[in-house]
């Protein structure tokens, strides 16, 4: 056992939020060490060359919610942030399709083929959601106050939010109330009539969540996905050149620029707690590092039930963390392809392959997929959000070859009989068969297949139960409740132990926000 030099802060986990926190602390002059368990940085935002020449966005695959101020303040464009536009969403149907593109006229025409009314409503829906996004922004950008025993600064923050809410228009208030309480299906039914359009839009209300489009609360998840902006354009989704791992690497380069040390293959065994204070960490190999504070980028279960002893925590808090809902609901299938998939509804190469391809023909399709999961099976006909990274960035695959990223829902963590190799491959087959219904050539062009179940995500990435958001984005787990009441401001019951992962406010996605706000909270406390 050796004790090495003392750091101002140690960050556990080199995921994008941990790296963001490290970069912000470094920027403020702190000496920071980031410890990553794996050989590669990024956590769930990682690019790996699983098969030679084919780079997979193994888990997380698109970027929209990255905060613009984080990009600016950490100088991410300088360190390799290059977001390419994802231009369209294609919903293949039997012998037909629904296509939405970056062009308003084209989108109008394509939706009008199915419903003229919806085509017109769609023109209003975007701006309306943009207004709601603006209405919610201040909540997302506020460090969640302690709602039980607010400090003076908490009161200030609450007052600011009150004033903000008083400034909202009655329309904003109406939509906000609905989005906070309704199911995405009910909410969309108030606007649209064409089922595949509604189903595809509702799909963003179920991603990463153990809910169906008809479950109350799913509308909020949809809103969460609507709040992204790239270059000032609300709801714009982008693909990072080199995959999402390159976003993590850009943040890592920024952190190093600000003086952070980053170690990979350095799994942390425990946080060293002395007299109720975190004073350093012990690695699995026995090395110890001391520091003035320890920040966990892991999910709340890992942060509190694994990294520290329960005896160092108040028992009611332990109960809250144990009750924190973190059910995994999705799987990921990454394919290396010999050629482009050929969709029956829109044959050949074309702009439609430069965007997302959504397998969401109807509410029933999604809801039945959810039903399977409710009773402990993976969906027989799953919902999928597919992109072809190599079409956007040819360097993702050897020349002429392609990679396909398939986000698949539902795949419950608690599957009947547990996950095993047979079940994983059966799940992979189901995914390929589902794609084959719309692009029959898929089976002939697969060179390699990587299938990740929630159990795999837990094992490989340390995501408890394979939940991609470090805990579900349901109302009782947001803002002042994320991950637990009184401890939603990035602090923990252990002094000098902080949290900065997606399990904290404002939640999951590649936002940089939890990492940024945790760092700002810490720096504020140090003043």
């Amino acid at each position: 056992m050796s004790t090495v030099k003392k750091y101002d802060a140690i960050v556990i986990g080199g995921g994008h939020n941990g790296l963001t926190a490290a970069a912000y602390l470094g920027r403020a002059g702190k000496k920071v060490l980031v410890l990553e368990r794996r050989y590669v940085l990024g956590g769930a935002a990682v690019t790996e060359e699983i098969f030679p020449g084919f780079k997979f966005t193994v888990c997380s695959y698109v970027v929209s919610l990255m905060k613009p101020n984080v990009m600016r303040e950490l100088m991410l464009p300088k360190f390799g942030l290059e977001l390419l536009p994802l231009e369209s969403t294609l919903t293949p149907l039997n012998n037909d399709y629904l296509l939405r593109t970056a062009d308003a006229d084209q989108t109008y025409r394509e939706i009008a083929r199915h419903s003229r009314k919806d085509a017109e409503t769609y023109m209003r829906f975007g701006p309306a959601m943009g207004q709601i996004g603006m209405a919610v922004r201040p909540i997302l950008e506020t460090i969640a106050p302690n709602a039980i025993r607010p400090s003076l600064s908490d009161l200030g923050a609450l007052k600011k939010l009150m004033n903000h809410f008083q400034s909202l228009s009655s329309e904003q208030f109406e939509y906000l109330t609905k989005l906070m309480t309704m199911s995405s299906a009910d909410f969309l039914d108030e606007w649209f009539e064409f089922e595949p359009l509604k189903a595809t839009m509702s799909a963003s209300g179920i991603i990463g969540t153990f809910m169906g489009p008809k479950s109350p609360g799913s509308a909020y998840v949809m809103l969460h996905h609507y709040m992204g902006d790239i270059d000032g354009a609300f709801r714009a989704w982008g693909f990072q050149r080199g995959g999402t791992g390159a976003v993590s690497m850009a943040i890592a380069r920024s952190a190093e620029h600000f003086g952070a040390d980053i170690m990979t293959e350095a799994p942390v065994e425990k946080v060293i707690v002395k007299n109720g204070r975190a004073v350093g960490v012990a690695l699995e190999n026995g090395d110890e590092y001391s520091s003035d504070m320890v920040i966990s980028g892991l999910d709340p279960k890992q942060t509190f039930l694994n990294m520290v002893d329960e005896s160092d925590l108040p028992s009611d808090f332990v109960t809250d963390i144990k009750n924190f809902r973190i059910r995994g609901s999705s799987g990921k299938v990454n394919l290396a392809l010999d050629a482009l998939p050929n969709f029956t509804c829109l044959p050949g190469d074309g702009h439609h392959l430069r965007g997302a391809i959504s397998i969401s023909p109807s509410y029933d399709h999604l809801e039945r997929a959810y039903d399977d999961a409710k009773y402990g099976n993976f969906s027989k006909k799953p919902f999928m959000d597919i992109i072809l990274p190599s079409v956007l960035d040819p360097e993702m695959a050897p020349p002429g070859k392609h990679v396909m990223s398939c986000f698949v829902q539902y795949a419950p963590y608690d599957i009947n009989g547990g996950w095993n190799d047979t079940k994983r491959e059966a799940f992979g087959d189901t995914v390929v068969n589902t794609i084959a219904r719309y692009a029959p050539n898929i089976k002939d062009i697969i060179l390699h297949r990587q299938v990740l179940t929630p159990a795999d995500m837990e094992k490989t990435f340390g995501l408890t139960e394979g939940n991609i958001f470090h805990g579900e984005l349901s109302l009782q787990q947001l803002f002042t409740m994320r991950p637990a009441v009184k401890w939603a401001d990035y602090t923990t019951p252990i002094k000098n132990y902080y949290q900065c992962g997606s399990g904290t406010h404002p939640g999951g996605g590649i936002t940089g926000s939890p990492g940024e706000m945790a760092a700002k909270k810490i720096l504020g406390e140090l003043k």
Partner: protein, 409 residues
Amino acid sequence: MTYGNQFTAETQLNLSPFFERTSQLNESQEWRRWSGYLAATNYELTHENEYFAIRTKAALLDITPLYKYIIEGPDAQRFLDRLVTRNIQICKVGQVMYTPWCDEMGKVIDDGTVQRLSENKFRITSAEPNLEWIETNSAGMDLSISDDSKTTASLALQGPNSRDVLNAVASDSLDNLKFFWMMDTHFGDISVSISRTGYTGDLGYEIWMNPDDAIAVWDLLLEKGKPYGITPTGLHALDMARIEAGLILLDVDYISSRHAIVESRKSSPFELGLGWAVKMKKKDFIGKKALEAEKLKGVEWEFVGIEIEWDPFEKLHRDVGLAPGLPCTAWRTSTPLYRGNKQVGYATSGTWSPILKKYIALAHVKAEYAKENTQLDFELKVEHFRKLTPAQIVPTPFFDPERKRACPQ
């Protein structure tokens, strides 16, 4: 001289039924987008000849991209009276009315023409899709609504010779067709409707036909119109003419209240110079209450014509050694207007008027500064530097020839 005419390209845009001809005639291959259609910006390498065709000859424009809806049934008139601000009850069969329509807050959604095709059948044109609004507001009424945007093709024939061209083609004389009336006639064996309407403020007509007849109609007009100087004309020329005529353009001079993101972007008809088209005596229509309240309270903004004074404008250019830089195409950049040091308005579109030899613009001005002859300061850049130059508020239309309304004696 031609440099080959086999030009082809893929497009994701809609093509009008006239495209087969217009694409061949468009020597500049300059196109604009209009409601998702490819529409000629100008056919020749510059638009000047096309502009003068509108004012001195006969300009032929493909206006198919307009949105069109047919409203038919026993309640059609009652419904339209509820929808729009004009009085449709007094609109006779064969008559056309220009009108805006509003939301419940009295803010303008769109503007267009209502044609009374028969007692119970109307066509309404609009700049943007309005089907959803029309359907929503017709609930419970005995009528049918159909989207006529693609089932009817249309051409505008505008200019002093337009009547002569039509008289040479149509089986009925156009001599007695009055301004804002329409008639059915034939070009050979092709049925068409002709309305005496347009977007140029000149003598002019709009021809409504089955898209299957589009090419035949186009060819006939070009052939018979040749001695009268018929000229395929693009949107550059039209934009200049419509400013001279003082006619507003959605998304340029105002924003539809249906998708204005903030309240301040919305305009009432009074704020767009369309108070004359709001018939307060009508029993009820969408937005009436709000408009009554606005009238009582006083209108905040007015929409006016301004004329940029020549001498100071010229001097600003002379001072830096330049001849006056005139906008020979219409501009659409919001441009500040000041009174003293205070901004009191903004011009939304403007152009040099070659027929009037004046620099004119359309502007939103705070009501208290919107009286005729008020002098304001217009912002412009002269050789990269911002300057102010005097502009007068003048009545519109800037250009209003007698022939627009007159019939031959």
